[in-house]
Amino acid sequence: MYKVYEIKKRIFDDNDQEAEKVREELKADGTFLINLMSSPGGGKTTTLKRTIDALKEEMRIGVMEADIDSAVDADAISETGAKVIQLHTGGMCHLDADMTRQGLEELGTEDIDLAILENVGNLVCPAEFDTGAVKNVMILSVPEGDDKPLKYPLMFQVSHCLLINKIDALSCFDFDFDACRERVLRLNPDMKIIPISAKTGEGMDEWYGWIREQVKEWKEAGK
């Protein structure tokens, strides 16, 4: 005879628990993990390359690339000399904590201070799956428009830092910074917002400063 069992669990619960474990392990190892998300072409790889070049002398950096089915981005990153591995998402449109853990094992976090995960280019489901990262960083690029927060609210709610990229192209688009900022802060009052150009380097110093501060805090928290 079959019996009815009440479960009452969110589908994401098991992933959330796994993600919590990943974070604890990262803390013990003193590794700060950033989950970098954006629409396809938002500028994740370009931002990463410039960031690695700027910070590689002061911290040990490792990168995990989750390109759906090519190694293009991984090749681009390896030119910087940083340690990079390709994650195998099996054609999935998002990464979960389990896949992140496998990637971290391959990367070997003991001798990495800053690990960065380039998530799949998509603003919907990467927001729903906690990867176990310490902080979520999202890139919104100027050509995508200032109304993205209205269309993809969850992504803005789960992110800690927002990079508004491609500001060198501002004159070609009518991107309203104040309207965008207001929409973002309404969804997430604690969001750190940094306008940058990954192409020219404008605004990047503030971003590096944010990373330095975060890495330092995380290492102290793990002591």
Partner: protein, 114 residues
């Protein structure tokens, strides 16, 4: 594919529930899916048909999906309204000070098992 990722998580949860309760066979799984969650019910059941075959525990389990309506609450006029129709802006007073009350769920409600 997004729905397959979700099925993988549902299966993991069912496996741990089965282990805790000494269950050998699940006959059905009932989900609550919100109207504005990112899940497409038809895709989800298609993925389920395919994925369940790999596990004796859920091999014959039927997936039942109950859709939950999306409702938004307006802080300015303290009324609620249907989200799918009106979005984030309150149709009663025009305010943007609104938040979703229900509609983004994605829960396993119950199973039938032995």
């Amino acid at each position: 594919m997004h729905e397959l990722g979700i099925i993988v998580h549902i299966t993991k949860t069912l496996q741990s529930v089965a282990a805790e309760n000494n269950l050998r066979e699940i006959a059905s799984v009932t989900l609550e899916v919100g109207e504005v969650s990112s899940i497409v019910p038809d895709y989800l059941t298609d993925c389920w048909q395919y994925y369940r075959k790999k596990f004796p525990l859920i091999e014959h389990a039927e997936m039942k999906i109950e859709m939950m309506p999306a409702v938004t609450y307006c802080e300015s006029c303290e009324k609620t309204y249907p989200t799918v129709e009106y979005g984030r802006q309150c149709p009663h007073c025009g305010s943007w000070e609104t938040y979703l009350v229900t509609g983004d769920e994605c829960n396993i409600r119950e199973i039938e098992a032995q």
